[in-house]
C-alpha cells in the first residue's frame, strides 16, 4: 500500500512538526522582541515535562480520572514553566539588556546548563517512564493504523494553540504592543507601553507553549530525562531559523517543513540519517534564502 505508507509519513511528519512548532514559537517570539537566541528555552520545555510527570503521578495515585489528571498536569506544567521563563528573563537577561548581544547569549547558554544540572541533581539522571496520558479513542479506531490517537491530539492541540496565539498577537492590545515593541522599543515606551512588562509577557507566552509541547511529546514517547530539552531545543531552533527567525508564521512553517523532511527521509531512505537530513536541509534553504522562508531581509535605511 504505497499511498497508505505515504499518508503515514505525512501525518507522522505533521505530528513532529507540530511539536517543533510549539517550541519554535518561544524562540522566535523572544528573538523578535529582544534579538536574543534563548538557548535555555529547550530547558523550559523539559521542566514542563517533568512537572507534568510529577503532578500526573500524584493524581493518578490518588485515583483521579484520566481527563482530570491530564488537565491538572497540563495546567501545573504551564504555570511552572511560565514561572521559570519569567524568572529566567529577570535574572539572566534583563540586567544585560544594554550589554553587547554576545553577553546575553553566553548568559543564555549558562542558564541552559544550569537548569539541566539542576534537574539532574534535584531529580535523576535516569530516563523516567512517562504515563500515556492520552487514551486510544474508540471512534478513531478505524484510522488508528495511519495516525494514532495521541498523534491526533498533538495535531489538534497545536492547531488550537496556534489559533489562540494568532488571536492574541493580531487583535488584543497586548499583542499589538508586543509587535510594536519588537519593531521600535523606544517609540513603544514613548506611547506609554511598559516595555519590561511586554518582554515578560513574551517569555510567559513562549514558556506556556513550550510546556504544552513538553507534556504532549513526553506522553507520546513515554519517557523523559533531564537532557531532553537540548536536542528538541536545537531542532526547534533550526525550525525557527528555517522559517525566518522573528516571524511567527515562519516558525510554524519551518517546523512543519522540518518535520516532513525528517519523516520522509527516514521513511524512504534511512532512519540512521534523520538528523543529517534535517540539518542538510537547513543549510540548503539558508544558502538560497539567508533570512529564512518567511523572514524579512534585513534592510537598514540610512
Amino acid at each position: 500500500m504505497d499511498f497508505e505508507y505515504f499518508a503515514q509519513l505525512f501525518l507522522g511528519g505533521l505530528t513532529r512538526g507540530s511539536i517543533y512548532a510549539l517550541i519554535a514559537l518561544g524562540y522566535t517570539m523572544v528573538y523578535g522582541i529582544i534579538e536574543l537566541i534563548n538557548f535555555a528555552h529547550g530547558e523550559i520545555y523539559m521542566i514542563g515535562a517533568f512537572t507534568g510527570l510529577i503532578i500526573a503521578s500524584v493524581f493518578t495515585m490518588l485515583g483521579f480520572p484520566t481527563l482530570a489528571v491530564v488537565v491538572l498536569a497540563g495546567m501545573a506544567a504551564i504555570v511552572y514553566s511560565c514561572a521559570y521563563g519569567f524568572t529566567m528573563e529577570k535574572i539572566a537577561y534583563k540586567p544585560l539588556r544594554n550589554a553587547p548581544r554576545l553577553s546575553a547569549l553566553i548568559s543564555a547558554i549558562g542558564m541552559s546548563l544550569f537548569l539541566q544540572n539542576y534537574v539532574l541533581l534535584a531529580q535523576t539522571s535516569d530516563f523516567l517512564p512517562f504515563p500515556s496520558l492520552i487514551p486510544d479513542f474508540e471512534f478513531w479506531e478505524p484510522y488508528a493504523h495511519i495516525l494514532t490517537s495521541p498523534e491526533l491530539v498533538i495535531i489538534i492541540t497545536t492547531v488550537v494553540v496556534m489559533i489562540l496565539l494568532t488571536f492574541l498577537i493580531k487583535f488584543t492590545q497586548i499583542g499589538k504592543a508586543m509587535r510594536a515593541t519588537s519593531q521600535d522599543k523606544m517609540m513603544a515606551a514613548l506611547l506609554g507601553i511598559n516595555v519590561d512588562r511586554v518582554i515578560s509577557v513574551t517569555f510567559i507566552v513562549g514558556s506556556a507553549t513550550a510546556a504544552i509541547g513538553g507534556i504532549l511529546i513526553a506522553s507520546h514517547i513515554g519517557q523523559i530525562n533531564f537532557y531532553m530539552g537540548f536536542i528538541a531545543g536545537i531542532k526547534a531552533f533550526v525550525a525557527a531559523v528555517l522559517g525566518g527567525i522573528g516571524s511567527i508564521p515562519g516558525a510554524v512553517l519551518g517546523a512543519l517543513v522540518l518535520g516532513w523532511t525528517e519523516s520522509f527521509f527516514t521513511g524512504y531512505i534511512s532512519s540512521d540519517y534523520e538528523d543529517v537530513f534535517a540539518f542538510l536541509f537547513l543549510v540548503v534553504i539558508l544558502i538560497f534564502r539567508p533570512s529564512g522562508i518567511l523572514g524579512r531581509a534585513e534592510t537598514k535605511k540610512v
Binding site: 509587535r179 519593531q183 517609540m187 515606551a189 506609554g192
Partner: protein
C-alpha cells in the same frame, strides 16, 4: 505646567545639557530653536525619561517627574513625536493609531478622536489598512502626529516635524499644530531647525547653543532680534 530646573544631561563623559532652565505654561506654544547638536532632542528625551538627567529637576503640573520611567511619564499626559517619526513599519495605520490609545480605556472618546483625526488627515483614512512603513514621508509625519493626538496629551513635544518634508506639507502640518493647540488646548513644545516657521507660530521661544539656553523671549521679538536673524534665519 512644565518646569525644568538646572538640568544637566550627559552621554558618557560628554555633557549634552548644561544648566537648563525652562518654563512652559498651559495652553502655550513654545519653541526651542538651535543648530544641529545643540541639545534640543536631548532636552525632549530628558523630559520624557528616555535619557536620564544627571542633575536637576523636571516638574509637570507641580509633580516631580525626573526619575520616572517613560511609560509613567506618558500616563501623566506628556507625549512626544520623536525626530524621524518612528512609525511602527509593519503595523497598519490603524494599529499604529491603536498604540496611541494603549493607556486609554474611554472607548467612546477614542472613537470620536479617531473621527477627528480622519477628518484632519483624510489620507490616513484612505490608507488605514496599509502598513506604516509603506507611507510617504509626509504621510508618516501625519500618522506620527495623529498617533500622539490619540494619547490625548496635555503637553505635546514635537521634534523637527518639518524635517525632510515638502514645503506645502510643512505648511499643512504647522496649521494642524496651531489647530490642536487652539481647539484642544494642548500645550505644544516645538523643537525646530526651521526657526522662521517655528517662531511665527510660537508664543515664546528659547534659543539653544551647545547645550545651554542663550536667549528666551516672545516669538515675535526673537524673529526681529538681530543675532537670531543672523544665526538662524539666514537674513
Amino acid at each position: 505646567m512644565l518646569k525644568l530646573r538646572n538640568i544637566e544631561t550627559f552621554y558618557g563623559n560628554i555633557q549634552a545639557l548644561k544648566n537648563i532652565n525652562m518654563d512652559v505654561k498651559e495652553g502655550e506654544i513654545i519653541t526651542l530653536i538651535g543648530a544641529n547638536g545643540a541639545g534640543k532632542s536631548t532636552t525632549l528625551m530628558t523630559i520624557c525619561g528616555v535619557t536620564k538627567a544627571r542633575r536637576g529637576e523636571v516638574h509637570f503640573q507641580g509633580q516631580p517627574i525626573h526619575g520616572m520611567t517613560p511609560d509613567k511619564i506618558v500616563a501623566l499626559g506628556i507625549n512626544q513625536v520623536p525626530e524621524g517619526r518612528h512609525i511602527f513599519p509593519y503595523l497598519t495605520v490603524m494599529e499604529n493609531l491603536d498604540m496611541g490609545t494603549f493607556l486609554r480605556k474611554d472607548t467612546e472618546n477614542i472613537k470620536k478622536d479617531l473621527e477627528y483625526i480622519f477628518d484632519l488627515f483624510p489620507r490616513l483614512a484612505e490608507r488605514r489598512h496599509q502598513a506604516g512603513g509603506t507611507l510617504s514621508g509626509g504621510e508618516q509625519q501625519m500618522l506620527a502626529i495623529s498617533r500622539a493626538i490619540m494619547t490625548r496629551p496635555k503637553l505635546l513635544l514635537l521634534d523637527e516635524p518639518s524635517l525632510g518634508l515638502a514645503p506645502i506639507i510643512v505648511k499643512q502640518i504647522f496649521d494642524i499644530i496651531k489647530k490642536i493647540n487652539k481647539e484642544n488646548n494642548t500645550t505644544i513644545f516645538l523643537v525646530e531647525q526651521n526657526a522662521n516657521l517655528a517662531l511665527k507660530i510660537a508664543h515664546r521661544g528659547y534659543v539653544m547653543e551647545t547645550g545651554s539656553i542663550t536667549m528666551s523671549d516672545t516669538g515675535e521679538n526673537l524673529l526681529s532680534n538681530e543675532d537670531v536673524k543672523k544665526a538662524y534665519l539666514g537674513i
